[in-house]
């Protein structure tokens, strides 16, 4: 799957985009957050407090219990501040 990171999430993890094959135990956005957090380092920092994060699945806002698959594009970012 494609994972995109924006704003301070991107800064903490050190990349804007990566492509991974989902581990078997990851079925929801929340699972993916936990999987990424366990990488440690900047990922642990970025994903340590999921309440501060928002996610989009295939370019639509998504809740953390949404189901993810290998063909999806997921993005993680802080609450938006445009306008």
């Amino acid at each position: 799957m494609t994972i995109l990171y924006f704003a301070w999430v991107r800064q903490k993890v050190g990349t804007g985009e990566e492509h991974i094959t989902l581990p078997l135990q990851v079925t929801t956005v929340a699972d993916l957050v936990e999987f990424l957090r366990l990488r440690g380092g900047g990922f642990a920092e970025a994903f340590g407090d999921p309440a501060r994060l928002r996610a989009a699945l295939n370019q639509e806002h998504a809740s953390f219990d949404a189901i993810v698959g290998d063909n999806d594009e997921i993005a993680f970012f802080p609450p938006v501040t445009g306008g």
Binding site: L4, F6, A7, Q59, H61, A75, V80, T81, G82, G83
Partner: protein, 149 residues
């Protein structure tokens, strides 16, 4: 016709209003909102980034929602990205309608949703520090009111 643009360059409000009403003699009211970078003692610049693709989808979705709620006859939304200094324009929302009520409501609705749903992020440069702007609760509350009516 609706126009959605994300761009680094500035925009011209008059030109956008002219384009909005072009060939639409049924438009009697145009409401615009322009957001600018407010200056204070320490702000040097804002830098805006966005999620290409999702941004345009989100904006198009909210224009469609506005069209479903109010009899609007055209909408233009332009949002700038990149580095902007105090006084520079950031965003334009312009809506045309036959009578003023629809255009007023739609522009307010679209602004509330741009602030809370469109994937843009602002970073403020103050002195040698650069910090991500925190989302404001007042914007979230402003967006919520449209769900109640």
């Amino acid at each position: 016709m609706n126009i959605i643009r994300v761009q680094t360059g500035d925009f011209d409000i008059s030109a956008e209003c002219d384009a909005l009403v072009h060939g639409r003699p049924d438009i009697g009211a145009i409401v615009t909102f322009t957001g600018c970078v407010r200056g204070d003692e320490s702000l040097i610049a804002l830098t805006l980034e966005h999620y290409p693709g999702m941004t345009e989808r989100e904006i198009a979705k909210h224009i469609a929602e506005a069209e479903a709620h109010w009899p609007i006859l055209g909408a233009t939304i332009i949002h700038r990205i990149g580095r902007l200094v105090p006084g520079e324009r950031i965003v334009l929302v312009a809506v045309g309608s036959a009578h003023r009520e629809a255009a007023f409501r739609a522009v307010e609705f679209l602004m509330d949703y741009l602030k809370t749903q469109a994937p843009f992020w602002k970073r403020e440069q103050r002195g040698s520090e650069a910090n991500w702007v925190e989302a404001r609760e007042s914007d979230a509350n402003a967006a919520l009111r449209w769900r109640q009516s």
